[in-house]
């Protein structure tokens, strides 16, 4: 009986429009935020911050981006990493070529560049649909990778095509340590996640979903398909672009275009499908699942597997388990972890009655 909205009446539409209309949810979210914003920086070590949490947050951001495009607007895309690359290299170039600009402006500009590129590659979506579009977005993926490898200007003529993020400064403070980078990432991701949530629950989001669910009737209602799809591509790529910049600046430090290869695009796609297509929360859950599972399995292998199984077999077993779990979760809940979470909440709400 703990989780019930009983007694919480909404007296205005404004209240009903709150992100978390149920009080318990608000508490829960507040706790989560306090945990990740205050507790984690105090207790987590470098390993957790640098190689688990930061990439996790950045991937979540990219996943939110892809979710806007694929989950909300229904345009399946396999070019995510390409747009991340645009963001990463744009941020780098703004940073070194116009050093006067504050870093946060670089990030925003990076996002905008990615958005622009995204919109260009989004143009075919007006005619091409479904898996055809998905494969067509691969054109973006490969083309962007190629451009960045082949035109030295983008990498400031580094002989190997690798760029290395200059030291970061944010509002006059140097962002160097793991905690600082983590907090920067967390801040950006939270603000952008909130903005995404806001967009998807207002008219832009509804237009995206309408186009996703039934584009003809969306058009008949007066939703211009072109504008809607292109904004979806733009916003989505903006998110991916910022994610790419963060990936470079806060996580890897140095990247080559190949860091944003097709495999990364796929990983992000996995994240949203496992997490929940059309769910902001799902983007985080999916990123956690896809990002952490292999690491977890690998750690398990390192601790348990040593000696019991041949190392080769262990490594491949990780793949088998990873693949198996993806299938398992899809069967349990095709709508992803976010849906599972929702069902759990629904059950909790009804508890102790089964239905």
């Amino acid at each position: 009986m703990l989780y019930r909205e009983a007694g919480q009446f909404k007296t205005s539409y404004a209240k009903d429009l709150a992100i978390f209309p149920i009080r318990q949810d608000r508490w829960f979210i507040a706790l989560v935020l306090i945990f990740f914003g205050l507790v984690v920086p105090l207790i987590a070590n470098d390993y957790w911050l640098k190689s688990i949490l930061i990439p996790l947050l950045v991937s979540s951001l990219a996943a939110i981006g892809l979710n806007i495009l694929t989950g909300y607007a229904g345009q399946l895309s396999l070019g995510t990493a390409g747009f991340m690359a645009v963001g990463a290299f744009a941020a780098y170039n703004f940073n070194i070529r116009v050093p006067e600009l504050p870093l946060i402006v670089d990030f925003i500009l990076a996002g905008l560049c990615a958005a622009l590129v995204g919109m260009v590659f989004g143009l075919p979506s007006l005619r091409i649909k479904g898996f055809y579009l998905a494969v067509a977005t691969l054109a973006a993926q490969f083309f962007i990778e190629w451009v960045l490898t082949h035109f030295g200007w983008f990498t400031n003529y580094s002989s190997s095509g690798v760029i290395s993020a200059p030291p970061m400064k944010m509002f006059g403070f140097a962002v160097e340590s793991a905690v600082e980078k983590y907090l920067l990432t967390l801040g950006v991701v939270l603000v952008m996640a909130l903005a995404a949530k806001n967009m998807v629950r207002s008219s832009a989001g509804r237009a995206w979903m309408a186009v996703r669910d039934k584009d003809i009737s969306a058009e008949v209602i007066g939703i211009p398909l072109m504008k809607t799809k292109l904004t979806a591509f733009g916003v989505s790529s903006f998110y991916c672009g910022v994610a790419g910049a963060l990936w470079t600046y806060c996580y890897l430090g140095t990247v080559e275009p190949a860091a944003f290869d097709l495999a990364r695009s796929f990983l992000i796609l996995f994240m949203i499908i496992i997490g929940g297509v059309g769910s902001i929360l799902g983007s985080f859950l999916g990123a956690a699942f896809i990002g952490l599972l292999p690491i977890f399995l690998n750690n398990m292998a390192a601790t348990i597997g040593h000696g019991t199984l041949q190392a080769d077999t262990m490594a491949n077993l990780e793949h088998v388990i990873f693949g198996g779990l993806i299938i398992f979760f899809l069967i349990v809940e095709p709508h992803g972890l976010a849906r599972l979470w929702q069902i759990a909440k629904e059950k909790l709400r009804l508890w102790p009655f089964p239905y």
């Binding site: 694929t70 399946l76 075919p124 005619r127 091409i128 649909k129 479904g130 898996f131 055809y132 998905a134 494969v135 067509a136 691969l138 054109a139 490969f142 083309f143 990778e145 190629w146 490898t149 082949h150 035109f151 584009d215 003809i216 009737s217 008949v220 097709l262 796929f266 796609l269 996995f270 499908i273 496992i274 297509v277 080769d312 077999t313 491949n316 077993l317 990780e318 793949h319 088998v320 388990i321 990873f322 693949g323 198996g324 779990l325 993806i326 299938i327 899809l330 069967i331 095709p334």
Partner: protein, 293 residues
């Protein structure tokens, strides 16, 4: 000019190799509307299994038969444990499931047979011979022959058996197909088994060119533009698409590539296919996407 034709013909022959992989995709898409991401993994798995048995000392044809049996067994398992529980789910979910499957197959294949690189010799010479100043390889013509045979058999299979119609029905609407009594489980098992056979043929041909190793699963990337160009549902499309992609990709790389620093082969076919799609959104031979209110 000779050089142009040499590139052109070489490209066409390369295209046939792409088609071989694309065919597997088409089979499964036709039958279930599933975009089978695991086709590349199937190719790898089939080739690994085959080489594995060869190394165990089985003669060529026996190894072939055993591998085929393994592929069929896998088809049945895949149907039972992956597809059946996901019937009537949206295509993207099934697509994802096949991605899971590809991880599983890659892990399983390499776990069972090891991840070292193996040579595969199917007894067809890969030596060049000259015609009118152009150099070709026998192997390529052999591959083209195999592809032609395979396509012939598949076309017969689809057009002359009841399964063909059932497949197309299933691809349109799982639930309605169930309702009219189409045995979905059987149909899917059959199709996956056929896709397994296609994968085996592709695996042997590609494997004898590249060696049997993980990278075999990446040949799928070559098949995707072929697929969208030809249309997801058309066997003929897979072939024609392959030829077009193969030829234009090579011509572009040789004659346009140098102006841009080369290596345009990765994106060029996709861009080309994209351009085609703008004219025909369902690919050259694909089924028209029906939109009605």
């Amino acid at each position: 000019m000779t050089f142009f034709f040499e590139v052109l013909i070489g490209g066409l022959l390369a295209g046939v190799m792409y088609s071989l992989v694309a065919l597997g995709f088409v089979m499964i898409f036709k039958a279930s509307g599933v975009f089978n991401f695991a086709q590349g993994a199937l190719v790898l798995f089939a080739a690994l299994t085959f080489v594995g048995f060869m190394e165990k000392g089985l003669p060529f044809w026996v190894a072939m038969a055993v591998t085929l049996a393994v592929m069929m067994g896998s088809a049945i398992l895949i149907e039972r444990f992956v597809l059946r529980p996901l019937v009537n789910q949206p295509p993207i979910t099934l697509f994802m499931a096949t991605i899971g499957l590809s991880f599983l197959l890659e892990g399983l294949g390499q776990g069972l047979w090891g991840s070292q690189v193996r040579a595969l010799d199917i007894g067809i010479e890969d030596l060049p011979f000259d015609v009118l100043g152009m150099t070709f390889s026998k192997f390529d013509f052999f591959a083209a022959g195999c592809a032609a045979l395979l396509v012939g058999a598949l076309v017969l299979f689809f057009n002359k058996t009841r399964v063909g119609l059932a497949l197309r029905a299933v691809a349109d609407d799982h639930q309605a197909a169930l309702a009219v009594g189409i045995p979905l489980q059987f149909v899917w098992a059959v199709v996956w088994a056929v896709a397994g056979l296609v994968a085996l043929v592709a695996g042997l041909l590609w494997g004898s060119r590249l060696g049997v190793q993980f990278s075999l699963s990446l040949v799928a990337l070559k098949a995707l533009p072929v697929l969208i160009l030809g249309g997801f549902t058309s066997i003929a499309g897979a072939i024609v698409g392959g030829l077009i992609i193969g030829a234009s990709e090579k011509l572009a790389e040789v004659f346009i590539g140098p102006y841009f620093g080369g290596a345009i082969e990765n994106w060029f076919p996709y861009m080309l296919a994209l351009a085609f799609l703008l004219i025909r959104p369902q690919g050259l031979f694909g089924e028209k996407i029906i939109e009605r209110v």
